[in-house]
């Protein structure tokens, strides 16, 4: 059972306080998108061994969504950050690079 820190209200809580919301930074494709784009948006997901970016909601707390960067193998949490962004912040990416040189995730590294 993970421990996460909500970047919105600052509470560090047990996993039961939060709700996992799947992969982070998906690009929504709506009407006018190709079949491939729409398939990518709806169904295609990373399955990384290592660095991963996820969406979480502080559901039994402030109710806000946020992002978490963590390792699927060591369970280390590299950091959490606001939901209102299309990509992981630079300083967090640098932090991860120090711990996991050469990591990649989708188009990010």
């Amino acid at each position: 059972m993970l421990i996460l820190t909500c970047p919105c209200c600052g509470v560090t809580g047990e996993e039961t306080e939060f709700h996992a919301g799947g992969e982070a930074h998906l690009k929504r494709h709506g009407p006018g998108s190709t079949e491939d784009q729409f398939e990518e948006y709806l169904f295609m997901r990373e399955n990384p061994k290592g660095v991963h970016f996820e969406r979480w909601r502080h559901v039994y707390g402030c109710g806000k969504w946020f992002h978490a960067a963590r390792s699927t193998t060591t369970l280390e949490v590299y950091g959490t950050y606001a939901a209102q962004t299309h990509e992981p912040p630079k300083d967090l990416r640098d932090t991860i690079s120090k711990k996991v040189p050469g990591w990649t995730w989708r188009e990010f590294q």
Binding site: M1, E14, P31, Q84
Partner: protein, 1006 residues
């Protein structure tokens, strides 16, 4: 025979006798006994039968690893199966019954299986019971059911109570042997908050039995002094009878405390499940002795050498008069020496090793007059329900018998395996210790926490340090490391680990099969897993048949899958598998260690969550009135809604029919408070709702209502309801009863994570309002009696809403209808709900008012062909399937689900479409029935062409009506379909319009 000795028993209070029964027979023991030691003291070695062959089984161990001694414990509301005799503390009045035998423990019919064992090899079930298919029902399944399961299931409700605790600490030390005590002391001396837990009733573990000295004094002194020191520290919590059950992510530990098992007359909960969050965990979980694999090693009287000396030293019990010790290490010599000191016979020690010189312990044994045979082992054990002797052979050979030695106990030792379960639960890796021939924690690959650093340290023999002096120094270092890891200062104000001394031991030598060249006859009698009856030959067969992965071999043979989870059998099985595959043991690896370490009670898992507090119930403000007026309750989400209000002398069906007719003819009242109510407000609220709903909500005028559909991105229909525009920037969205929280969360998610620049605020106000539907041809008349606002057709038209007063209540009135009747839904603050309900019942008295429940609501809506989320939808249905094209905007560029509904499968013309179904004979179609079609599919099943989604008897039409999804349904009006029922009957129904009642929609619009 096994018996009580005149002397010894360091854990006993011999001044207090305790009486108990085993299989109805009265026996006595002492306070401090376990059920196992008390049984042995009463010469009861035979305690059960094995799972597959029903072979007689005796007590093997003295602790949690016991595979055989499982009993049905207690009676009535305190009955519990599969309780280990070795971990059950004796109390006055205890009742135990042995398991898995018929008709009696002594004489068991199932033992015939053992005679058949030649025909029941590994994978027997898989091989035999596959075909032919028809035999399953009448032959295979009854056979397996009869044979399956060891204990009996409890028949009564549990009399005891249980609870959950939450705890936090810097350092959690699991295991209260000398390693755990020393680690806890080392950590506590830094000021860290320490919790030390021990699964048994006693501190000190097995070190006091095994001897040696700490700081120049017996181990017992060290244990007493250290416990006293820890008890005096404010930063330390000590708990006995509490097992570390599982280690989980980021330092989370589940722990199982048995509070009253040993004293059932005590008040309070029986078990407690602790949910502990620890900064760092020290696993001081000790080691478990391994059996040796020789023929007949399962005959009652064959025991672990350490268990034999535990019974002698701790409980003053002699497991037998004459004990042969068979070993591959020095440690087992302690048993021979302890037996001799207790005045018992040890005719021989069979040592599989060949050593150049005698070790210290060997010399001690010989000095006591014990015969030691080096390079020897057991060819086979003689005896049936009890050992009568051993046939001795050379370990190097194939088992030719050199001599036989009469005895009634065989004390065996194959070396020691560190208990690595808790270390492994959360990803800790193992390494192979060649000297001890055992897996031990790999200190470089510990489980890691949120900060990426190790959060578990193994200490003492659990880390592979088996000898007393090593145990103490290792544990002291572990305790300090754990405290340091949680930010505490290393500078200790107490001395480091005390000096310990013990008799040195010569190296062990791995022995995985005895004798080394044992033929198939011996191997088929050499047991690995006593509880599940897995033999050396079974694992070898599995390897031969291609089950090379240790996880596959485990499942094929059932090795380690019994309630003891292979605590004794796993390593020996791995060794045999590795040998068969001709590869080193580390290459074979271990199976996965999964929590809990030993079984924990279902009661503890449930905790307080049972009966009334199992799940909170949501009640509307009028709940009590419904309850007092005959409501039969229906759970809808966490809500309870009246299904129908049943009068005396009336069946539930009668009530539903009466309510349905009355609402169409006169006046009905429905408590609609459970419907979700979500306020959506802000400058961008209209734009946002246009994305949420398939239809256009931004164009709705204030004062007007519109029915809306909500889909997910796949295009599937997820909710529906009436939306009212309150003012320029505010909308109120009704959801289904079960949907309020889900749809509120859905809106929040899109606002927070996709359109976060849009200025919209969303609030779930469901519980702020009570809402009452006033339904029927006399609805307007009733409201006019109340007086106040104008509710005429001219002022408040169909799909209008207005604020005002009625009978003195401040109300919001929506003129909407889910019944097809003239209908007003009246919302008031929740606190006014009951008063308004009472007032409406009073004014309706002269108009034939009756309250109605959810089943009537369903029939009314079905008569009108209105869909219900969850009936007509199941997560795979799009609005187009339901003929709801009119509610899907063509003007909008985008809404959630629009792109999804354009996918090829969603526009496939063969998708089943909503129609009405009218039975030919007026009967009611079975719910969920499928319409059959010509031909069969690839699985030989009948093809289908539709299914029933809602079905009722309509009292207004006096026949069965139904809705369903049917292939090309709307184009097949008048066609008759066949619906085979599960009752064997075939139902015929005609495809008709789903609107059965008032197709022109004149009724609500008056």
């Amino acid at each position: 025979m096994s018996t009580r000795l005149a002397t010894g028993g360091r854990l006993l209070n011999k001044s207090r006798a305790v009486s108990f029964t085993f299989n109805g027979q009265h026996m006595t023991g002492y306070e401090g006994d376990t059920l196992a030691s008390a049984l042995l003291a009463n010469d009861q070695m035979l305690v059960g039968r094995s799972f597959k062959y029903h072979r007689p089984r005796g007590i093997v161990a003295s602790g949690a690893e016991e595979p055989n001694g499982l009993v049905n414990l207690g009676q009535g509301g305190r009955f519990e199966p599969n309780q280990r005799v070795t971990t059950t503390e004796l109390f006055d009045g205890l009742t135990a019954k042995s398991q898995n035998h018929w008709p009696s423990l002594e004489f068991d019919v199932g033992a015939i299986n053992a005679q058949m064992s030649r025909f029941m090899p590994a994978g027997f079930y898989y091989k035999t019971f596959m075909y032919p298919r028809p035999l399953w029902k009448h032959v295979y399944e009854p056979f397996i059911r009869k044979a399956a399961g060891l204990g009996a299931a409890p028949k009564e409700r549990d009399d005891d109570t249980y609870e959950h605790f939450y705890a936090f600490c810097d350092v959690l030390v699991i295991g209260g042997g000398v390693a755990g005590l020393q680690a806890a002391k080392a950590a506590a001396d830094t000021g860290a908050r320490v919790m030390l837990i021990e699964q048994t009733a006693h501190w000190g573990g097995r070190a006091p039995v095994d001897g040696g000295e700490i700081a120049g004094k017996p181990v017992d002194n060290y244990v007493d002094e250290t416990v006293a020191a820890l008890e005096a520290m404010d930063n330390v919590t000590l708990r006995r009878r509490m097992m570390g059950a599982g280690v989980y992510d980021h330092g989370y530990v589940l722990s199982y405390e048995r509070l009253t098992d040993h004293a059932p007359e005590m008040d309070g909960p029986r078990h407690r499940l602790w949910r502990i969050r620890a900064g760092h965990i020290v696993t001081a979980t000790g080691a478990i002795e391994r059996p040796l694999s020789f023929a007949g090693n399962d005959i009652p009287g064959v025991m672990l050498a350490s268990a034999v000396r535990d019974y002698v030293t701790n409980f003053g019990v002699s497991p037998g008069d004459r004990t042969v010790v068979v070993t591959n290490n020095d440690n087992a010599y302690l048993t021979a020496i302890a037996l001799k000191h207790a005045g018992l016979d040890v005719p021989a020690i069979l040592d599989a090793r060949v050593l150049p010189t005698d070790s210290a312990l060997m010399a001690q044994a010989k000095a006591l007059g014990i015969r030691v045979l080096m390079g020897h082992g057991v060819s086979t054990v003689m005896g049936g329900k009890r050992v009568t002797g051993v046939a001795v052979c050379s370990q190097a050979g194939e088992g030719s018998i050199l001599e036989t030695i009469p005895c009634d106990v065989v004390a065996m030792s194959g070396g020691w395996s560190p208990v690595v379960h808790l270390w492994s639960h959360c990803g800790g890796k193992l390494t192979w210790d060649t000297a001890q021939a055992a897996f031990k924690p790999d200190v470089d690959k510990a489980p890691t926490g949120a900060d990426g650093k190790a959060f578990v340290t193994a200490a003492g023999s659990a880390s592979g340090a088996l000898l007393l002096a090593d145990v103490l120094s290792d544990a002291d270092a572990a305790g300090q490391a754990a405290a340091t890891a949680t930010g505490h200062k290393t500078g200790r104000n107490a001395s480091a680990a005390p000096e310990a001394s013990h008799t040195p031991e010569a190296p062990m030598a791995p022995v995985w099969l005895m004798p080394h060249g044992a033929g198939i006859k011996l191997r088929s009698k050499a047991w690995l897993d006593y509880q599940n009856d897995v033999k050396v030959s079974d694992v070898q067969l599995a390897a031969q048949e291609g089950f090379h992965s240790v996880e596959h071999a485990k499942r094929y043979t059932t090795l380690g899958m019994a309630t003891d989870q292979g605590k004794l059998s796993n390593i020996n099985g791995l060794a045999i598998l590795s040998d068969s595959l001709n590869q080193p043991i580390p290459q074979t690896g271990t199976t996965t260690f999964r929590p809990p370490y030993t079984p924990i009670s279902m009661g503890a898992i449930g905790g307080e969550a049972r009966g009334d507090v199992f799940q909170p119930i949501r009640r509307t403000p009028m709940h009590d009135w419904h309850d007092e007026n005959g409501a039969e309750w229906e759970p809808v989400g966490h809500w309870r809604r009246p299904y129908a209000y049943v009068r005396s002398g009336e069946s539930t069906h009668d009530a539903v029919m009466r309510e349905t007719k009355n609402t169409r003819d006169n006046l009905g009242l429905l408590d609609a408070s459970t419907l979700g109510k979500i306020i959506v407000r802000g400058p961008d609220a209209g734009k946002f709702l246009d994305m949420m709903y398939t239809n256009m909500m931004s164009t709705l005028k204030p004062g007007k209502c519109r029915y809306g559909l909500m889909c997910d991105e796949n295009g599937f229909l997820i909710d529906d309801g009436v939306v009212a525009r309150i003012d320029e920037q505010t909308w109120l969205c009704h959801t289904t009863t079960g949907g309020a929280e889900r749809i509120h969360a859905h809106m929040e998610e899109w606002l927070q994570t996709e359109w976060w620049t849009w200025q919209v605020y969303v609030a779930n106000v469901t519980e702020q309002y009570a809402q009452i539907a006033v339904v029927g041809p006399k609805a307007r008349e009733a409201l006019e009696h109340l007086g106040g606002m104008d509710v005429s057709a001219e002022t408040l038209g169909f799909m209008d809403w207005a604020d005002g007063t009625l009978g003195g209540f401040d109300v919001r009135v929506y003129r909407i209808s889910f019944s097809g009747e003239l209908s007003y839904e009246i919302a008031v603050p929740a606190s006014q709900g009951q008063a308004l309900w009472d007032t409406l019942m009073a004014v309706g008295a002269g108009l034939g008012v009756m309250p109605y429940g959810t089943e009537c609501l369903h029939i009314l809506r079905a008569e009108k062909g209105f869909i219900m989320i969850g009936d007509e939808t199941d997560g795979t249905v799009i609005p187009q399937d339901l003929g709801l094209h009119w509610a899907i905007s063509k003007k909008k560029d985008d809404f959630i689900g629009k792109r999804g509904q354009e996918r090829s499968h969603m526009v496939d013309p063969t998708r089943w479409q909503l129609v009405g179904l009218e039975t030919v004979d007026g009967s009611t179609l079975p719910d969920g029935a499928y319409a059959s079609a010509e031909g069969t599919n690839a699985n030989g099943q009948r093809e289908t062409q539709g299914r029933v989604t809602s079905t009722y008897h309509s009292p207004n039409l006096d026949r069965g009506i139904a809705m369903g999804l049917v292939l090309n349904g709307p184009d097949r009006m008048g066609e008759v379909l066949t619906f085979p029922g599960t009752d064997g009957k075939e139902y015929k129904a005609k495809i008709v319009s789903p609107v059965f009642y008032d197709p022109e929609g004149e009724k609500p619009n008056v």
